[in-house]
Amino acid sequence: MRLQYPGTIRIIRVPCTGKVDVIHILRAFEKGADGVYVVGCMEGDCRFVRGNLRARKRVESVRRILDKVGIGGERVQMYNLSSGDGPRFAEFAVEMTEKIKSLGPNPLKAARWKMAS
Protein backbone atom coordinates (compact mmCIF):
# COMPACT_ATOMS: atom_id res chain seq x y z
CA MET A 1 0.00 0.00 0.00
CA ARG A 2 2.99 2.29 0.62
CA LEU A 3 0.99 4.36 3.07
CA GLN A 4 2.63 7.25 4.88
CA TYR A 5 2.31 7.70 8.63
CA PRO A 6 4.34 9.78 11.09
CA GLY A 7 7.77 8.48 12.01
CA THR A 8 7.23 9.49 15.63
CA ILE A 9 5.61 6.16 16.41
CA ARG A 10 7.41 3.15 17.74
CA ILE A 11 5.49 -0.05 17.11
CA ILE A 12 5.60 -2.78 19.74
CA ARG A 13 4.11 -5.99 18.42
CA VAL A 14 2.14 -8.29 20.71
CA PRO A 15 0.33 -11.52 19.82
CA CYS A 16 -2.97 -10.00 20.97
CA THR A 17 -3.89 -6.72 22.69
CA GLY A 18 -5.04 -8.91 25.59
CA LYS A 19 -1.30 -9.32 26.31
CA VAL A 20 -0.94 -5.59 27.03
CA ASP A 21 -1.11 -4.97 30.74
CA VAL A 22 -1.55 -1.76 32.76
CA ILE A 23 2.07 -1.85 33.91
CA HIS A 24 3.40 -2.03 30.33
CA ILE A 25 1.66 1.22 29.42
CA LEU A 26 2.61 2.92 32.70
CA ARG A 27 6.28 1.99 32.22
CA ALA A 28 6.23 3.57 28.77
CA PHE A 29 5.09 6.85 30.34
CA GLU A 30 7.55 6.48 33.21
CA LYS A 31 10.34 6.17 30.61
CA GLY A 32 9.17 9.34 28.91
CA ALA A 33 6.70 8.33 26.18
CA ASP A 34 4.50 11.28 25.21
CA GLY A 35 1.55 9.06 24.36
CA VAL A 36 0.61 5.42 23.98
CA TYR A 37 -2.13 3.90 21.88
CA VAL A 38 -3.20 0.32 21.65
CA VAL A 39 -4.55 -0.95 18.33
CA GLY A 40 -6.60 -4.10 18.58
CA CYS A 41 -8.90 -6.08 16.33
CA MET A 42 -12.54 -5.09 15.98
CA GLU A 43 -14.60 -5.81 19.08
CA GLY A 44 -16.33 -9.15 18.66
CA ASP A 45 -13.62 -10.36 16.26
CA CYS A 46 -10.97 -11.33 18.79
CA ARG A 47 -9.38 -14.68 18.00
CA PHE A 48 -8.95 -15.13 21.74
CA VAL A 49 -12.56 -14.01 22.35
CA ARG A 50 -11.96 -11.21 24.86
CA GLY A 51 -8.39 -9.99 24.33
CA ASN A 52 -9.32 -6.61 22.86
CA LEU A 53 -12.07 -6.09 25.45
CA ARG A 54 -9.57 -6.73 28.24
CA ALA A 55 -7.18 -4.27 26.56
CA ARG A 56 -9.88 -1.59 26.45
CA LYS A 57 -10.55 -1.96 30.19
CA ARG A 58 -6.83 -1.75 30.92
CA VAL A 59 -6.45 1.35 28.76
CA GLU A 60 -9.33 2.95 30.67
CA SER A 61 -7.65 1.99 33.92
CA VAL A 62 -4.35 3.60 32.78
CA ARG A 63 -6.28 6.69 31.75
CA ARG A 64 -7.68 7.09 35.28
CA ILE A 65 -4.23 6.58 36.82
CA LEU A 66 -2.57 9.11 34.51
CA ASP A 67 -5.24 11.68 35.36
CA LYS A 68 -4.61 11.17 39.06
CA VAL A 69 -0.82 11.40 38.85
CA GLY A 70 -0.89 14.54 36.72
CA ILE A 71 0.33 13.14 33.38
CA GLY A 72 -3.08 13.37 31.69
CA GLY A 73 -5.30 10.45 30.75
CA GLU A 74 -5.91 11.73 27.24
CA ARG A 75 -2.36 10.63 26.34
CA VAL A 76 -3.50 7.02 26.14
CA GLN A 77 -6.01 5.71 23.64
CA MET A 78 -7.54 2.43 22.46
CA TYR A 79 -8.25 1.91 18.76
CA ASN A 80 -9.83 -1.00 16.92
CA LEU A 81 -9.48 -2.00 13.28
CA SER A 82 -9.61 -5.01 11.04
CA SER A 83 -6.19 -6.56 10.34
CA GLY A 84 -6.66 -5.87 6.63
CA ASP A 85 -7.36 -2.18 7.10
CA GLY A 86 -3.99 -0.54 6.55
CA PRO A 87 -5.33 2.94 5.71
CA ARG A 88 -7.16 3.02 9.05
CA PHE A 89 -3.88 2.17 10.83
CA ALA A 90 -2.22 5.13 9.16
CA GLU A 91 -5.16 7.37 10.09
CA PHE A 92 -4.87 6.40 13.76
CA ALA A 93 -1.16 7.19 13.67
CA VAL A 94 -1.82 10.65 12.23
CA GLU A 95 -4.70 11.33 14.63
CA MET A 96 -2.74 10.28 17.70
CA THR A 97 0.38 12.19 16.64
CA GLU A 98 -1.62 15.38 16.18
CA LYS A 99 -3.35 14.90 19.50
CA ILE A 100 -0.07 14.39 21.34
CA LYS A 101 1.52 17.36 19.56
CA SER A 102 -1.32 19.55 20.80
CA LEU A 103 -0.89 18.20 24.35
CA GLY A 104 2.87 18.76 24.32
CA PRO A 105 5.59 16.47 25.65
CA ASN A 106 5.25 14.15 28.62
CA PRO A 107 5.57 16.47 31.67
CA LEU A 108 7.88 13.94 33.32
CA LYS A 109 10.65 14.77 30.83
CA ALA A 110 10.71 18.42 31.91
CA ALA A 111 10.44 17.44 35.58
CA ARG A 112 13.32 14.97 35.26
CA TRP A 113 15.47 17.52 33.48
CA LYS A 114 14.72 20.14 36.14
CA MET A 115 15.57 17.71 38.94
CA ALA A 116 18.83 16.72 37.25
CA SER A 117 19.90 20.33 36.87
Partner: protein
Amino acid sequence: MIVADRKPIEEIIDELKDFKSILIAGCNECVTVCEAGGKKEVAVLASSLRMYFMNQGVDVRIDEVTLERQCDHEYLEEIRNVIDRYDAVLSLACGVGVQFMAEKYFSTPVIPGVNTCFMGVTEERGVWSERCQGCGQCILARTGGICPVSRCAKRLLNGPCGGSSNGKCEIDADLPCAWQLIVDRLKELGRLDEYELLAPIKDWSTDRAGGPRKVVREDVRL
Protein backbone atom coordinates in the same frame (compact mmCIF):
# COMPACT_ATOMS: atom_id res chain seq x y z
CA MET B 1 -9.50 -15.75 51.78
CA ILE B 2 -9.20 -12.29 53.27
CA VAL B 3 -10.67 -9.82 50.80
CA ALA B 4 -9.23 -6.33 50.53
CA ASP B 5 -9.86 -3.38 48.25
CA ARG B 6 -7.42 -0.81 46.93
CA LYS B 7 -7.21 2.51 48.71
CA PRO B 8 -7.63 5.63 46.57
CA ILE B 9 -4.23 6.78 45.31
CA GLU B 10 -4.92 10.28 46.68
CA GLU B 11 -5.10 8.86 50.21
CA ILE B 12 -1.88 6.90 49.69
CA ILE B 13 -0.07 9.97 48.32
CA ASP B 14 -1.22 12.00 51.32
CA GLU B 15 0.18 9.40 53.73
CA LEU B 16 3.51 9.12 51.88
CA LYS B 17 4.22 12.74 50.98
CA ASP B 18 6.74 13.31 53.80
CA PHE B 19 8.94 10.30 53.07
CA LYS B 20 11.97 10.24 50.76
CA SER B 21 12.47 6.52 50.36
CA ILE B 22 9.60 4.07 50.38
CA LEU B 23 9.36 0.30 50.07
CA ILE B 24 6.09 -0.97 48.62
CA ALA B 25 5.52 -4.47 49.95
CA GLY B 26 2.95 -6.77 48.38
CA CYS B 27 1.75 -10.15 49.60
CA ASN B 28 1.47 -13.30 47.49
CA GLU B 29 -1.55 -14.73 49.28
CA CYS B 30 -5.15 -13.47 49.66
CA VAL B 31 -4.60 -9.93 48.40
CA THR B 32 -3.03 -11.32 45.22
CA VAL B 33 -6.14 -13.40 44.55
CA CYS B 34 -8.49 -10.47 45.14
CA GLU B 35 -6.23 -8.28 42.95
CA ALA B 36 -5.60 -5.65 45.59
CA GLY B 37 -2.04 -6.16 46.80
CA GLY B 38 -0.11 -8.72 44.78
CA LYS B 39 3.01 -8.30 42.64
CA LYS B 40 1.03 -6.74 39.79
CA GLU B 41 -0.68 -4.19 41.99
CA VAL B 42 2.66 -3.35 43.64
CA ALA B 43 4.21 -2.64 40.23
CA VAL B 44 1.30 -0.47 39.08
CA LEU B 45 1.16 1.51 42.31
CA ALA B 46 4.95 1.97 42.44
CA SER B 47 5.02 3.21 38.85
CA SER B 48 2.08 5.56 39.50
CA LEU B 49 3.69 7.00 42.64
CA ARG B 50 7.09 7.44 40.95
CA MET B 51 5.40 9.41 38.17
CA TYR B 52 3.38 11.49 40.63
CA PHE B 53 6.36 12.49 42.78
CA MET B 54 8.62 13.12 39.78
CA ASN B 55 5.96 15.32 38.24
CA GLN B 56 5.82 17.25 41.50
CA GLY B 57 9.60 17.72 41.33
CA VAL B 58 10.10 15.66 44.50
CA ASP B 59 12.94 13.18 44.57
CA VAL B 60 11.51 10.02 46.16
CA ARG B 61 12.96 6.54 45.91
CA ILE B 62 10.28 3.90 45.54
CA ASP B 63 11.26 0.22 45.53
CA GLU B 64 9.12 -2.89 45.23
CA VAL B 65 9.04 -6.26 46.93
CA THR B 66 6.37 -8.95 47.18
CA LEU B 67 6.63 -11.41 50.03
CA GLU B 68 5.14 -14.89 50.07
CA ARG B 69 3.12 -13.84 53.14
CA GLN B 70 3.24 -10.93 55.55
CA CYS B 71 1.57 -12.82 58.40
CA ASP B 72 4.53 -15.14 59.10
CA HIS B 73 7.92 -14.41 60.65
CA GLU B 74 9.92 -16.36 58.09
CA TYR B 75 8.79 -14.29 55.11
CA LEU B 76 8.92 -10.94 56.89
CA GLU B 77 12.52 -11.77 57.83
CA GLU B 78 13.41 -11.56 54.12
CA ILE B 79 13.43 -7.77 54.26
CA ARG B 80 15.35 -7.41 57.54
CA ASN B 81 18.59 -6.54 55.74
CA VAL B 82 17.05 -3.85 53.55
CA ILE B 83 14.35 -2.24 55.66
CA ASP B 84 16.75 0.30 57.19
CA ARG B 85 17.24 1.84 53.75
CA TYR B 86 13.66 3.10 53.76
CA ASP B 87 11.84 5.86 55.63
CA ALA B 88 8.57 3.96 55.41
CA VAL B 89 6.94 0.78 54.12
CA LEU B 90 3.66 0.87 52.23
CA SER B 91 2.20 -2.57 52.79
CA LEU B 92 -0.40 -3.86 50.38
CA ALA B 93 -1.10 -6.85 52.62
CA CYS B 94 -4.28 -7.11 54.68
CA GLY B 95 -4.45 -5.44 58.09
CA VAL B 96 -2.87 -8.55 59.59
CA GLY B 97 0.25 -8.22 57.46
CA VAL B 98 0.54 -4.48 58.06
CA GLN B 99 0.39 -4.99 61.82
CA PHE B 100 2.77 -7.93 61.90
CA MET B 101 5.31 -5.96 59.90
CA ALA B 102 4.88 -2.98 62.22
CA GLU B 103 5.41 -5.23 65.25
CA LYS B 104 8.53 -6.71 63.74
CA TYR B 105 10.14 -3.52 62.45
CA PHE B 106 9.29 -1.25 65.34
CA SER B 107 11.14 1.87 64.22
CA THR B 108 9.90 1.93 60.60
CA PRO B 109 6.49 3.46 59.82
CA VAL B 110 4.29 0.88 58.07
CA ILE B 111 1.38 2.34 56.12
CA PRO B 112 -1.58 0.36 54.78
CA GLY B 113 -2.17 0.52 51.02
CA VAL B 114 -5.45 -1.41 51.01
CA ASN B 115 -8.69 -1.49 52.98
CA THR B 116 -9.17 -4.95 54.47
CA CYS B 117 -12.84 -5.86 54.05
CA PHE B 118 -13.82 -9.40 55.06
CA MET B 119 -13.30 -13.14 54.73
CA GLY B 120 -15.02 -14.16 51.54
CA VAL B 121 -15.11 -15.84 48.16
CA THR B 122 -14.59 -14.89 44.53
CA GLU B 123 -18.12 -15.09 43.12
CA GLU B 124 -16.78 -14.22 39.69
CA ARG B 125 -13.81 -12.24 38.39
CA GLY B 126 -14.05 -8.83 40.06
CA VAL B 127 -16.83 -9.77 42.50
CA TRP B 128 -16.07 -10.89 46.04
CA SER B 129 -18.54 -11.42 48.86
CA GLU B 130 -18.47 -12.23 52.55
CA ARG B 131 -18.88 -15.76 53.89
CA CYS B 132 -17.33 -15.90 57.38
CA GLN B 133 -16.98 -13.61 60.36
CA GLY B 134 -14.72 -15.89 62.38
CA CYS B 135 -17.15 -16.16 65.30
CA GLY B 136 -15.08 -18.95 66.81
CA GLN B 137 -17.91 -21.51 67.12
CA CYS B 138 -18.96 -22.76 63.72
CA ILE B 139 -22.64 -23.67 63.35
CA LEU B 140 -22.60 -24.51 59.63
CA ALA B 141 -23.40 -28.17 60.37
CA ARG B 142 -26.83 -27.09 61.61
CA THR B 143 -27.60 -24.49 58.97
CA GLY B 144 -27.17 -26.38 55.72
CA GLY B 145 -23.65 -25.04 55.18
CA ILE B 146 -24.87 -21.44 54.97
CA CYS B 147 -23.78 -19.08 57.70
CA PRO B 148 -26.46 -16.86 59.28
CA VAL B 149 -23.78 -15.07 61.32
CA SER B 150 -22.05 -13.63 58.27
CA ARG B 151 -24.88 -13.62 55.73
CA CYS B 152 -27.87 -12.45 57.77
CA ALA B 153 -27.74 -8.72 58.47
CA LYS B 154 -29.13 -9.39 61.97
CA ARG B 155 -27.10 -12.57 62.63
CA LEU B 156 -30.35 -14.38 63.47
CA LEU B 157 -29.98 -18.01 64.54
CA ASN B 158 -33.57 -19.25 64.48
CA GLY B 159 -35.13 -18.42 61.14
CA PRO B 160 -35.70 -15.23 59.20
CA CYS B 161 -37.05 -11.94 60.46
CA GLY B 162 -40.08 -10.13 59.07
CA GLY B 163 -37.87 -8.27 56.60
CA SER B 164 -37.41 -11.31 54.39
CA SER B 165 -39.53 -11.07 51.26
CA ASN B 166 -39.35 -13.07 48.04
CA GLY B 167 -36.11 -14.58 49.28
CA LYS B 168 -34.41 -11.19 49.63
CA CYS B 169 -33.27 -9.17 52.63
CA GLU B 170 -34.92 -5.88 53.47
CA ILE B 171 -31.60 -4.02 53.57
CA ASP B 172 -30.92 -4.63 49.87
CA ALA B 173 -33.19 -6.03 47.16
CA ASP B 174 -30.19 -7.82 45.60
CA LEU B 175 -29.09 -9.45 48.84
CA PRO B 176 -30.44 -12.97 49.39
CA CYS B 177 -32.03 -13.68 52.77
CA ALA B 178 -29.59 -16.07 54.49
CA TRP B 179 -32.47 -17.99 56.10
CA GLN B 180 -34.18 -18.41 52.74
CA LEU B 181 -30.92 -19.94 51.45
CA ILE B 182 -30.71 -22.16 54.53
CA VAL B 183 -34.31 -23.40 54.16
CA ASP B 184 -33.79 -24.03 50.43
CA ARG B 185 -30.64 -26.04 51.07
CA LEU B 186 -32.06 -28.03 54.00
CA LYS B 187 -35.02 -28.91 51.78
CA GLU B 188 -32.62 -30.06 49.03
CA LEU B 189 -30.73 -32.17 51.54
CA GLY B 190 -33.96 -33.69 52.87
CA ARG B 191 -33.16 -32.34 56.33
CA LEU B 192 -35.82 -29.70 56.69
CA ASP B 193 -36.85 -31.18 60.06
CA GLU B 194 -33.59 -29.73 61.45
CA TYR B 195 -34.98 -26.28 60.76
CA GLU B 196 -37.46 -26.92 63.58
CA LEU B 197 -34.69 -27.44 66.14
CA LEU B 198 -34.14 -24.38 68.28
CA ALA B 199 -30.61 -23.06 68.33
CA PRO B 200 -29.57 -22.32 71.91
CA ILE B 201 -28.27 -18.87 72.82
CA LYS B 202 -24.88 -18.56 71.12
CA ASP B 203 -21.78 -18.02 73.22
CA TRP B 204 -20.44 -14.82 71.70
CA SER B 205 -17.37 -14.77 73.94
CA THR B 206 -15.45 -16.54 71.15
CA ASP B 207 -16.49 -13.77 68.76
CA ARG B 208 -15.06 -10.24 68.99
CA ALA B 209 -17.27 -9.69 72.06
CA GLY B 210 -14.67 -11.55 74.09
CA GLY B 211 -11.85 -9.19 73.03
CA PRO B 212 -8.84 -10.03 70.82
CA ARG B 213 -8.61 -13.76 70.31
CA LYS B 214 -5.82 -16.27 70.31
CA VAL B 215 -5.39 -19.92 69.39
CA VAL B 216 -2.69 -21.86 71.24
CA ARG B 217 -1.96 -25.42 70.13
CA GLU B 218 0.43 -27.11 72.54
CA ASP B 219 0.59 -30.19 70.28
CA VAL B 220 2.22 -28.28 67.45
CA ARG B 221 4.28 -25.76 69.41
CA LEU B 222 8.04 -26.19 69.23
